[in-house]
């Protein structure tokens, strides 16, 4: 499942995938894979992304009922 909330949060801070990747210490392709839903990050990476974007885990990674429909 695509993670559109992550994409929106990143775009909200005017960050490119490459810039976010640099902030959390991963490759641009890894950020792309997370946004596309091709890769499930570990909790450590989720926390690093949340800290970089100033969001909580719930806001970025917790599945909402409406998204599962």
């Amino acid at each position: 499942m695509k993670n559109l909330r992550l994409k929106a949060a990143r775009a909200g801070l005017d960050l490119s995938q490459d810039e976010l990747a640099g902030l959390v210490g991963v490759s641009r392709q890894t950020i792309s894979a997370i946004e596309k839903g091709d890769y499930n990050p570990t909790i450590n990476l989720c926390i690093a992304i949340c800290k970089a974007l100033g969001k909580t885990l719930d806001e970025l990674f917790w599945e909402r009922a409406a998204e599962n429909i």
Binding site: V26, S27, N44, L45
Partner: protein
């Protein structure tokens, strides 16, 4: 230890030292260890698995070919290396196409130049040996064929990287 064995061991040691210093130059942070993120490590784990099974399959194929069609002893020392090279090609190709090959601290510009130098050097050595008639002795392949395999391996890596780059360009 015979002279050949001592030469082989010395060659391996020198090779490892060269690779160590080359990696330090090729990585942006000057460290010999290439860094990968968690997804890349997972991809590389799968790549090594496929590479391992390829080596086993290639060895089995060698046995079958030897028993049925062709005397593999004519491959000389290359007999041991062809399955290894097959495994490396699979491991590297899988890593490249799943974005697990290029490390976080790899300087791609330097790496590309390094690959071109290694490819040209190895193919040059193989061509020189071929021209001087040293590729075969009594109908058996000799060591310089390994240089040709090395050159081809780096050429395949370069082609894989170019294809991947083109694919990424289309996606963007």
């Amino acid at each position: 230890m015979t002279g050949t064995a001592a030469g082989l061991v010395a060659g391996i040691v020198v090779g490892l030292i060269v690779v160590f210093f080359a990696l330090r130059k090729l990585n942006d942070d000057g460290k010999a260890k290439t860094k990968y993120d968690e997804r890349q490590k997972a991809v590389r784990g799968m790549a090594y698995t496929y590479g391992f099974w390829t080596i086993l399959a290639a060895n089995a194929a060698m046995l079958v070919i030897s028993a049925t069609a062709f005397d593999v002893a004519k491959l000389g020392p290359c007999l041991y290396f062809i399955p290894i090279f097959a495994g490396i090609v699979v491991q590297v190709s899988y890593s490249i196409f799943n974005d697990g090959y290029v490390g976080l601290n790899t300087n791609m510009k330097k790496y590309t130049i390094f690959m071109i130098i290694v490819t040209v050097f190895n193919i040059g050595v193989a061509l020189t040996a071929f021209i001087n008639g040293k590729m075969f002795t009594n109908g058996r392949l000799q060591g310089p064929f390994l240089n040709l395999l090395c050159g081809l391996l780096f050429f395949v890596v370069a082609v894989d990287l170019l294809i991947k780059q083109a694919m990424d360009g289309k996606e963007a």
